[in-house]
Each structure stands twice: as structure tokens, then as C-alpha cells.
């Protein structure tokens, strides 16, 4: 059996010798080079564009302006499964190039040239005349009467407002003896910073267009390119080679539609669009900055009588994934610490800033920053131990959510807390760090997180799989679920080998996806890959096995119920004798002059379940108060992701999420100039991504309660590791100094302001 073992990644060898081909490595050198012209105002209208100088530059093929987009096919970009119900479709508010400018960096033109230098020179030579409008960068300002309106039909710039009401909040707060704890919590705009920038290239063959792209969602992008060009979706083919990270940014149609459009304008000539790092920060997607207001009414025994959350999510200029992000966090609020009386209001609001989309955690890192900072504040106000307070109020075992029908089957939270506390020696450190004085102080902080797996029942969950048997008994496996670096192909290989009964080396998962060939699937997001694909793999492998054994009946004269496949052999179960190898059977099947058969299987599994995937972070810090600096000394994440398919890859996945959480908690923030709306630090030097030097050793521990709804007992682990790190760091700083920093990140800038306010400096 391979599931549950530390199997080496199937692509590791090719990656360490530099043989894996990514999009740019595959593009033919005959490609024209395209560059996007971005607006240099935050809000307004392009009145005219003078391209005459740009066109004179040698090597420039053509300059396109927003006025060249004659057929206006508005399209949505979110990497959501399409909904056949118009009421559930994503907002179609983008054009390949736009006259209406809604943020500093909007796509108003494009240059196509023979080389990069000519393209860059041409971009600089284009003169744009704008009609400027007032702009707004802050969510609260954008909701005010008289604020600039960014899209028509959205009064107050509110893309969507949803509510959750449980019990009677107004009545419940009248209970005598309650303590009111209230706070505002802010998270910053951050960017995914996958090391491979978005890149794609397009070319035509016949009347069809092929776009090779660094995307997490080939089948979804196919649909969106079709919508954006106004052509039949079957005329679009998307190819996804190896990709250098995505983290949600590539769970959106980024520039595939524009690249395809440029290609079609140029008679189908090969066009490559390679996005520079500086543009990646501004004109791809960012994480929603969310401002949360929480009020808790707490009884003297430390239980909640009533709670209220208002969350304001900064959408930026276009809808992209829209309200789903803040809605996910809002949905977690009444579940994580259940309370009889709850009011939740979640708003998603347009501003004239970079467009927010999906990013690892999908609203949960923001929600956990607010909720777990607040939980710490409540415990402190009530004079209760922060861990005991959490244990008392966390979702109890047996809790069932009425909507998703998710159930907490095991004592996950307590088990994860226990394991993390032991791993980091929490109790000793916590006691030692109580009541410190002096300039240099240490602290240790806890945060739990809520997460669920995949998107059912909010949206479609489906996975298709195809298995094709080769002459030698090995097989190709294809899935719509995408390898983006997380190790999905390796997990699929392990699963297939176990269900079919073949050696690992005989399973060849086809990593490159091609919508002409790859079975339909929605892609890599929502930490759904292992869970969702698991169903399709098990079902398809069982189907293939049934067909193989049926064929074996003819060759062995044994009934299928007395046959099995083990280690690549057809085995008689009654005495364990190997009757023939799978290779012998397959060769016979393919070449038989009497009964030739191509043994393969393909099936779709629609998944109508979902699974909670919970855990926690504990962080230990040292704070230099006069310097307003925090050093992270030690950190541990504990997860219950069900049964681990591959413990080595699971651990690696947690490390990466922790790193992203450390950046979120301590250093990362994309800044915008208040006077112009321009991004100020859109490069990897000024945007403070964590480096090798910003981390202590990262510890990951697991509780493996088998998830009963799952095909392999497993559930989400892709995004969860990034969800609880930042608030744990914030709470460690709180223990060290008594100062809660409610605005992430806990960087010197925010600490200076807070230490000043609290009189520490």
C-alpha cells in the first residue's frame, strides 16, 4: 500500500535537474511579444490615445487601444464553476481592454512587437489623454453618500451585502451581568507572489485558438476565453504545463482572454504575454483587505450570550471572486464559537484599487485575524486563560452545520491544541512569560482556525478521471484537478496504485493538462484536490479493475469474484496463485485476433459532501519595545486533515502555508499612494515577503482522524496552514507586551503607533 507513506514526489527528479518545462520554456521563439498598457490614473475615462510615435519604433508589429475593442463581450474572471442559473453567475464586468478606468493599473491598451525591448519602448511612447474622476481607496469612504461611483447599478459601491441572523441579538444583550467586548480588526492587501509570474501564449490552428497558460483552472479558463471573445467554447483549447505556483491568483482568468484576442487580431500569429513582476502585484489579483467589527457579550462564566460581526471587504475595482471571500469568513463566525444569538453583516465594496480575488485561505486568514485577535481580547477581559477560554467555547464534537451538513466527528480542536502545546512546550513558556517588564520581552500566543474542504454546497463539486491501460500493464491517469506545485500528481499516483493493485512505478499521471484531452474538472482551488479527486480516482480504478477482471475471466477461465489484482498481477484469491501479470493480460487484450479490447475507464464523480479541516498555530516571539521589532522564535502548526496521503508532502505543504502566514502577520502589505492610487511597493524588494532569515525552524504536527465522508479518509490541507499563523503571532506579542495590535501586519510601523498609544514608548 502506498497511501499514507512518504513517497517521493513523482516530479521531483525532473525538477531538480531542470527538465520540467513551464510555459515560457515551451513557447516557440517565433512568438510576438505582447505587453499591456496600464492606466496611470485611478478613475476616469480614456478620451484619446496617440500611438503614432509607438508605431514608428522598429520591431513594433501593432499597437492596440481600448477603442479597438469593437465587440464588447463583458466577461467574469472568477475561477468558479459556471452556473447555469443566471442568478448564481459571476459578475461579468471585464473587457479585454477598457476605456473606463477603475484603478491605477487598469488595462487600456496593448503593444505587440517582435521583441521585448521594442514592446517596452512602444509602451513608453504611447500618449494617453484621460478625463479624470474623483477616486476612492477606502471601503468606509466608498460606502458614504456622495462617494465616487465605480460601477453603475451598485449604489454605495456595494457589490453585495449578506446577513446571518440566529436567535435574537437585541434581546440577548439585555441579560444582566454581561461584559461587552468590542474591537475593530484590519487585514492588509497582500499578493500571492508565486515565483513564476503569470504568463501565457496563444496561437490559432484552423478556426480554433490554443492558449498555453500558467493557470490553476484550465477548463474554467476555456469557458471564460470563449465568453470574452464571443466564440463557441469548443473553439478554445487551454494547455497547462508545469506551473510555478498559483496560490489563488491563477484561479482567475488573468490575461488569457487578452492574449487570445491579440492573437486573433493578428491573424492567429503566435503571441506571448509575459507579465512583469511589477504588473503582477498591481494588475493581477490581490488578497481582499477586510475590516471587521466584532462585539461579544460575555457571561461571568466565560460563555457567549450574544455576538455580532460586521465585515467590510475591499474588492478593488472589479468583481472577480467578489463576495464569496468575505462570505466564507462570515459563515465561519457563528460556527467556530457557536452562540445562540448572532448577527453577521458582510459587505463587499468596490474601491479604485487593484482587484481582489482568491488567495490561499479564501477569506479565512482575514476572518481568523479578526476572530482570534478578538478571542484573545475577550479571554483577557474575563481574566481567563486564553487556551482554556477557547476550549470552553469552541465548536463541540458532534456539531452539525445545517447548510453544508458538515459535522465535527472527532475532538479535533482539543487534540490539535494538546499536540501543538506539547511540541512547543507551551505551558512552561506561557507561565514564564507572564508579567514581564523591561525593554525586551517574550510572549507565546495561540490561534485556532476554521476551514472546510471544497465548495459544495455553495457551488458544483465534480471530478472526472480517465485511466488507460498500456501493453505492459502500466497506465496513464488523467484528471481535471491540477498539479500546481502542491504535489497532487503524487497523491493521485499513490491512490491509483492502491485501488488498482499495481506498483507505484506503473502509474503515470499526466501532469500537463489540455482541455482537448483532459477529462472535465474545475481545477486547483478550495483545498479540494485530494478530497475531490479521490472520489473519481477510486471510482474509476474500481471500474477499470472490473473490466480487467472480466477480461481475465476469458484468459484464466476463473470467475472474476475469485480474482484480484495485486502488485500488477492477476491473482486467484482462493489460493493466492499468480495466474498472469497485468502486462500479459493487457498485451493479449490489445492484440488478440479473437477478442481485441482497449482496456480503459472514465467516470465522473459528483461530490455532495464537504469536510471540516481544523487546527491551530502556536507562536513564540521576542519583542524589542524601543525598536518596535518582533522576532519570531518558535512556531508550530497542528492540523487534523484526516488521514494523510503522503506525510512528507503534507508537512511540506504546512511549512509553505506557515511561511505565508508569517509574512501576513509580520511584514507584508501592498501600499497605495493616497494622492494617486498608485501602488508604491510593487516589487519583491520593497514588498516584504518573508525570506530565509525571517523564519525559525518550522514545525508541523498532525492529528489523523479519518474523515468518514472521504474516499481516502483525507480532507483539506492546501490552504489551512496559512489561516491561523498571523493571529497567533499577534497574540504572542500581546502576551509579551499587553498591547494588542489589531491592524495586521505586526510590523514596526504598526507597533510604533500602538506602543505610543499605550505609553510603552
Amino acid at each position: 500500500m502506498y497511501v499514507g507513506k512518504k513517497v517521493t514526489r513523482v516530479d521531483a527528479y525532473d525538477k531538480v535537474i531542470g527538465r520540467t518545462r513551464y510555459t515560457d520554456d515551451l513557447c516557440d521563439k517565433s512568438a510576438y511579444i505582447a505587453r499591456v498598457l496600464h492606466s496611470t490614473i485611478a478613475h476616469g475615462r480614456v478620451v484619446s490615445m496617440d500611438t503614432s510615435e509607438a508605431e514608428k519604433i522598429p520591431g513594433v508589429v501593432k499597437v492596440f487601444t481600448c477603442f479597438d475593442v469593437k465587440e464588447k463581450h463583458y466577461f467574469p474572471t472568477a475561477g468558479h464553476p459556471w452556473s447555469t442559473d443566471p442568478g448564481h453567475q459571476d459578475v461579468a464586468d471585464r473587457l479585454v481592454l477598457t476605456e473606463e478606468v477603475r484603478f491605477y493599473g487598469d488595462d487600456i491598451g496593448a503593444v505587440v512587437a517582435e521583441d521585448e525591448v521594442a514592446a517596452a519602448q512602444a509602451l513608453a511612447a504611447i500618449k494617453v489623454e484621460y478625463e479624470e474622476y474623483p477616486f476612492v481607496l477606502d471601503v468606509q469612504e466608498a460606502m458614504k453618500e456622495g462617494a465616487p461611483q465605480i460601477h453603475k447599478d451598485y449604489p454605495g459601491n456595494i457589490l453585495k451585502h449578506t446577513t446571518i441572523r440566529k436567535g435574537n441579538y437585541e434581546e440577548a444583550i439585555k441579560e444582566p451581568g454581561l461584559t461587552k467586548v468590542e474591537g475593530w480588526y484590519d487585514t492588509p492587501t497582500v499578493q500571492h507572489c508565486h515565483i513564476e509570474n503569470f504568463i501565457c501564449y496563444a496561437e490559432m490552428e484552423g478556426d480554433r485558438i490554443t492558449v498555453t497558460a500558467s493557470t490553476q483552472i484550465p477548463h474554467i479558463v476555456r469557458r471564460i476565453v470563449g465568453q470574452a471573445l464571443g466564440i463557441e467554447w469548443g473553439r478554445v483549447r487551454i494547455v497547462k504545463p508545469y506551473i510555478g505556483g498559483g496560490f489563488g491568483n491563477k484561479q482567475d482568468a488573468l490575461y488569457e482572454p487578452l492574449c487570445a484576442w491579440l492573437c486573433m487580431q493578428l491573424g492567429g500569429h503566435l503571441v506571448k504575454l509575459d507579465i512583469p513582476r511589477e504588473d503582477t502585484f498591481v494588475s493581477n489579483r490581490v488578497r481582499h483587505a477586510i475590516r471587521s467589527h466584532i462585539i461579544s457579550w460575555v457571561r461571568p462564566d466565560g460563555t457567549y450570550a450574544a455576538r455580532k460581526l460586521e465585515a467590510f471587504s475591499d474588492q478593488g475595482a472589479y468583481a472577480s471572486h467578489g463576495h464569496s471571500i468575505v462570505a466564507k469568513g462570515a459563515g465561519a463566525f457563528p460556527q467556530l464559537y457557536p452562540c445562540d444569538n448572532v448577527e453577521v453583516d458582510a459587505y463587499t465594496v468596490f474601491t479604485n484599487k487593484s482587484v481582489a480575488g482568491a488567495m490561499r485561505g479564501y477569506g479565512i486568514p482575514q476572518a481568523m485575524w479578526a476572530v482570534e485577535s478578538h478571542t484573545e481580547d475577550v479571554a483577557a477581559r474575563m481574566g481567563m486563560d486564553p487556551v482554556e477560554f477557547r476550549r470552553k467555547n469552541l465548536m463541540p464534537v458532534g456539531y452539525v452545520d445545517a447548510f453544508s451538513r458538515n459535522e465535527l466527528y472527532d475532538d479535533t480542536f482539543n487534540q490539535c491544541l494538546d499536540k501543538a502545546m506539547e511540541a512547543i512546550d507551551y505551558k512552561r513558556k506561557f507561565n514564564e512569560y507572564q508579567n514581564q517588564t523591561g525593554d525586551i520581552r517574550r510572549g507565546i500566543g495561540v490561534s485556532v482556525f476554521w476551514y472546510n474542504t471544497a465548495v459544495w454546497p455553495i457551488s458544483l463539486e465534480t471530478s472526472s478521471c480517465r485511466m488507460v491501460l498500456n501493453q505492459d500493464g502500466s497506465l496513464q491517469v488523467q484528471l481535471g484537478e491540477t498539479e500546481i506545485g502542491q504535489g497532487a500528481d503524487t497523491a493521485y499516483t499513490q491512490m491509483t496504485a492502491d485501488v488498482l493493485g499495481v506498483p507505484l512505478r506503473d502509474v503515470h499521471v499526466v501532469s500537463c493538462q489540455d482541455t482537448d484531452v483532459t477529462p472535465f474538472g474545475t481545477g486547483a482551488y478550495a483545498s479540494r484536490q485530494t478530497y475531490t479527486a479521490g472520489f473519481a480516482i477510486r471510482q474509476t480504478a474500481m471500474l477499470l479493475k472490473e473490466r480487467i477482471l472480466e477480461y481475465a475471466r476469458e484468459l484464466t477461465r476463473m470467475p472474476p469474484y475469485n480474482l484480484d489484482i495485486s502488485e500488477g498481477n492477476i491473482v486467484r484469491t482462493t489460493d493466492g496463485r499468480v495466474l498472469m501479470t497485468l502486462g500479459e493480460l493487457s498485451t493479449e487484450a490489445l492484440y488478440s485476433l479473437t477478442n481485441s479490447r482497449h482496456l480503459s475507464a472514465e467516470s465522473t464523480s459528483q461530490i455532495k459532501s464537504n469536510a471540516y479541516s481544523f487546527g491551530c498555530t502556536i507562536a513564540e516571539v521576542e519583542v524589542d519595545i524601543p525598536m518596535c521589532k518582533v522576532k519570531l522564535l518558535d512556531i508550530v502548526n497542528a492540523h487534523d486533515a484526516g488521514k494523510l496521503i503522503n506525510p512528507a508532502l503534507a508537512e511540506a505543504q504546512v511549512h509553505g502555508g506557515m511561511s505565508m502566514g508569517i509574512g501576513y502577520g509580520m511584514s507584508e502589505r501592498l501600499l497605495f499612494d493616497e494622492k494617486t492610487g498608485r501602488a508604491l511597493n510593487n516589487n519583491l524588494l520593497d514588498y516584504k515577503l518573508s525570506t530565509f532569515m525571517d523564519h525559525p525552524r518550522l514545525k508541523a504536527v498532525f492529528v489523523e482522524n479519518a474523515e468518514p465522508t472521504s474516499a481516502f479518509g483525507t480532507k483539506a490541507l492546501g490552504e489551512p496552514p496559512a489561516c491561523s499563523v498571523a493571529p497567533a503571532i499577534r497574540n504572542a506579542v500581546y502576551q509579551a507586551t499587553g498591547v494588542g495590535v489589531n491592524e495586521a501586519p505586526v510590523n514596526p510601523h504598526n507597533l510604533f503607533r500602538r506602543f505610543k498609544e499605550e505609553g510603552l514608548i
Binding site: K15, I195, R277, H655
Partner: protein, 168 residues
């Protein structure tokens, strides 16, 4: 203005080569476009991310901010040149595999080249020194933890410290 070219004659992965190169090209461009050595990756093209690192005369450089014409007369090593004559991979490459230090793999070639430079020093660096020496690289997948393990273990093994390596 017509393009200007210059003959760049150098040794790449042990083989002497020469070509006329656009004088504006970076070493990254030359290695990728003219010699199709695509392990040299472009993540920022301004010397911030380290994905393009190669070894020039024994020293690791960001090839994206190193002009191709400067490579004239130099000896260049890319990831493709690390394997032995029969395709056998080096200890540091094997350590990246064994320690699960590879995820999306885009930053890996650059990291491995810096690791080669560290290992070639043939001395034992402290943990902090290793972190500092590797800090010119950015990775968003691994949190650097397993890369650290791979580098430290290989360093200790090359110094004959098998037992210490197993404890990393």
C-alpha cells in the same frame, strides 16, 4: 537604431561555445534563448528573487542582472551542468528530492546553484550563516524549511558528519 551584436565566447557547463549575442541581452536571456538552458528561470528580472542564479567562475550570480557580454571568457555552470557524465545527479540534487524541498520547482534551480556555492566552500557554516547565504532567494511554496534541511545535511555529509546530518 539597428541592433548591435557582439561575439560572446565562453564555457557553459564544461563545453566551449561562442555566439553573436545582442549587446542588450542579460545572461539569463542568453542562456535561455540562445542555449535553451531553461532551468535558468525568470521571476523578477531585477535581481530580487534568485530564480536565475548560475555560477560564474565559481561564484553565484543573479544572471538576470549580469549582461551576457560580460560572460565573454567566463566559465558558467547552470543546473543542467550539475549531473555527471552518465546523467547521475549530485548529492545536493538528491537531497532536495529526499527532503521534499521541491514543490512547484520554479525557484529550485536557483536555490540549488547557491547551495553548490556554499558546499564548494568545504566548511561548516552555522545555521544563521546558511540562512544568510541562501537569503537571496525567494520561495513561496516551501517556507524554506526543507531547503534548509537539504543544504545543511549535504554540507555535513560532505564533511563526513553522517550522524549530525541524520539529526538535522
Amino acid at each position: 537604431m539597428s541592433k548591435q551584436y557582439k561575439l560572446v565566447s565562453c564555457t557553459i557547463n564544461g563545453k566551449h561555445v561562442e555566439k553573436m549575442i545582442d549587446v542588450r541581452a542579460s545572461l539569463t536571456d542568453m542562456l535561455r534563448d540562445d542555449y535553451r538552458l531553461t532551468s535558468v528561470k525568470k521571476g523578477c528580472e531585477v535581481g530580487e528573487c534568485g530564480a536565475c542564479n548560475v555560477i560564474i567562475d565559481g561564484e553565484c550570480f543573479n544572471s538576470c542582472i549580469y549582461l551576457a557580454v560580460w560572460a565573454d571568457g567566463k566559465e558558467i555552470l547552470t543546473l543542467e551542468g550539475l549531473a555527471g557524465p552518465n546523467g547521475e545527479i549530485s548529492d545536493i540534487q538528491q537531497a532536495f528530492i529526499d527532503e521534499a524541498a521541491v514543490q512547484c520547482g520554479f525557484c529550485s534551480p536557483g536555490f540549488i546553484m547557491s547551495a553548490v556555492e556554499i558546499l564548494e566552500a568545504k566548511r561548516e557554516f552555522s545555521d544563521d550563516e546558511i540562512r544568510k547565504l541562501m537569503s537571496g532567494h525567494l520561495c513561496r511554496c516551501t517556507g524554506y524549511e526543507n531547503i534548509f534541511r537539504a543544504v545543511k545535511k549535504t554540507m555535513l555529509r560532505r564533511l563526513g558528519k553522517e550522524k549530525e546530518a541524520d539529526e538535522v
